[in-house]
Symmetry: C2
Subunit: 358 residues, 2 copies
């Protein structure tokens, strides 16, 4: 928090100096967007390239964005001073007002405020969470872990059937005790409830974590902290379809829209433990496949071509076979073999035999 405050003050100072010298106030920062994104093979993450963008006050094409950026910086600085957090939507409303003497609003749409907040991440080198701006929370966790959060001591092994609700911002959580061999992250809340009821985390001495659909930033950051600070392997359990593969790859390599945050969010060591094309025969899942739609097939072709899948033989095989299969297998398809098949046989067997895809 002190770092973020200092960075924002430095930004203000810089503008102040430029104006006092009668220079055109200008911000320079790495260019975002596809044209400046590269897959860094060394670190195995999506990163921003060397191209920069500049934004000047006395430039008709820039001045509104310049103003928006400074307004976002002001709002974030206030939040940090008051020790409060706002959602992206809150920040949008705090920015949405008419510039005095004009008919122009500072922002009209949340996409505008979201964009300058991402710019602010680049300018300050602080994540949105460190700037006290949060996205939606979504996700649960259970296992032998004790954390301290806002003065409360929370034991993830004693949260009943609900589990602990993962906050949108996990920066200030302190780990008091972490007793687990690995973390199993799954894309579906219903699968989490299944494994929790079967006491999977207790039997396997692991942590189970889920959000719903795309992984929220709070969940990604929590996974990363467990990986880096506690050296826990992270396994990702998804459906067998291009969307599931992408969920895995975002956790591992980062995403195009958040390439500038790769360092703080990606987990290069994460392994895929989801349904594979080989599981179909092995576990007799053929009767439980769901036919692909056109959009699924198109998505396979897109994903096949991504740098991080392109040079990977295992993934190319999975994707090619999946394309021939023309159907997806959901995690819950395993229920057809028995409601606890997943926790008693499928997962223990795959983990024991190290049947991961990397």
């Amino acid at each position: 928090m002190e770092k973020a405050k200092a960075e924002l003050r430095q930004l203000g100072k810089k503008i102040e100096i430029q104006t006092s010298k009668k220079q055109n106030p200008t911000l320079i920062f790495p260019l975002r967007g596809l044209s400046n994104i590269e897959f860094d093979k060394k670190s195995s993450t999506l990163k921003l390239g060397d191209k920069t963008a500049s934004r000047s006050f006395f430039n008709v094409a820039h001045s509104k964005k310049f103003l928006q950026t400074l307004d976002a910086a002001r709002i974030s600085h206030n939040l940090l001073k008051e020790k409060k957090h706002a959602s992206l939507r809150d920040v949008f409303y705090q920015m949405k007002r008419t510039i005095t003497g004009t008919k122009t609003n500072i922002v009209d749409d949340q996409t505008e405020s979201d964009a300058v907040i991402e710019d602010l991440e680049l300018i300050t080198g602080c994540s949105r969470e460190q700037l006290n701006i949060n996205a939606n929370k979504n996700g649960s966790v259970a296992g032998n872990v004790i954390v301290e959060d806002k003065g409360d001591i929370i034991d993830w092994s004693k949260m009943g059937s609900g589990g602990w609700s993962i906050p949108s911002n996990v920066e200030e959580i302190k780990f008091k005790k972490v007793q687990a061999k690995y973390v199993l992250y799954m894309e579906k809340a219903a699968v989490w409830e299944r494994l929790h009821e079967d006491k999977f985390w207790e039997k396997q001495n692991c942590l189970i974590m889920s959000s719903q659909g795309q992984t929220t930033r709070g969940v990604r950051r929590l996974l990363q902290r467990l990986y880096e600070e506690h050296k826990l392997p992270i396994y990702v359990l998804t459906d067998l379809d291009p969307w599931g593969f992408y969920i895995y790859s975002v956790i591992k390599y980062g995403s195009i829209s958040l390439a500038h945050m790769s360092e703080q969010l990606t987990i290069p060591g994460v392994k895929f433990l989801g349904i594979t094309v080989d599981d179909i025969k092995k576990y007799n899942l053929e009767p439980n496949l769901i036919k692909f739609k056109d959009v699924d097939i198109k998505r396979i072709d897109q994903i096949k071509d991504y740098d991080w899948f392109k040079d990977n033989k295992d993934w190319q095989r999975q994707l090619n076979e999946l394309k021939k299969l023309k159907a997806k297998a959901e995690i819950q398809a395993l229920s057809a073999r028995g409601i606890s098949f997943i926790s008693e046989k499928y997962l223990p067997e795959k983990i024991k035999n190290k049947e991961f895809i990397d």
Copy 2:
């Protein structure tokens, strides 16, 4: 659980008797769907009417559905015996298989299994949750409450910034301590985090609860249990738009698709504490309105015509004014007045002055 098991066994017994007498095995139960739904003014809930449907095995139009219904009953009975819970998706996969000697599947699509599970609720008089079948979980809660769930003692006041993650099935939760004057339920997780950070529940001696978008059944049932077993007033905080009003009305009166579950899910005493058309002027929210799309306007007309809104002057006025306004006001629009305006001024003032809509 014993009730559900007994009801399912009785269903099996009935079919057994019919077959042993060489009768056509037949199930009779209330007809679902719009044609048999009425708004019961006395109890203020949406209920099913007197029309019944029958389903016979030796009837070409019925036999598949008959089989599906019995298969769902079998799966639920197994779950109850094994003391396990399945998601709707799990049940779909357990039902999805080819009938021996044919090319016909028992179900091809989840809508089919979902439908017969709802029928099973009607036939047995037990909710899906009592039949050990859950939907997705989604939602958080905080406040001065201690519950026991699956042997764990959970203190909702000591859950850090995340809160307790509300399970999809809250039937077996035991309340150990409930210390609160009311429950504030909101449609948005981000607003919940705002109020939680401001310690709203502590200052106001209340509980705060949220899901995201439409209220999940787990959350509705938890609200209802707090209302009935602990006589807590329930206030609903939503956006000012037809979708927000509908979220409120579903909690209060029930929904068309779950009319047969009204008794177990509706809370007639619930009050609307969301943004009203009167708040726009009072709190100077005009600059923060978002223009309606056509679909929003159409939805207002639909809602105006629902029985439970039609005869209610207050709601008709809100809906008429909203139609003139042609714009919505989100809860987070209040952030424009200051990030904690909602918890320090807006809500305390409205609650103190009892500015509810009923």
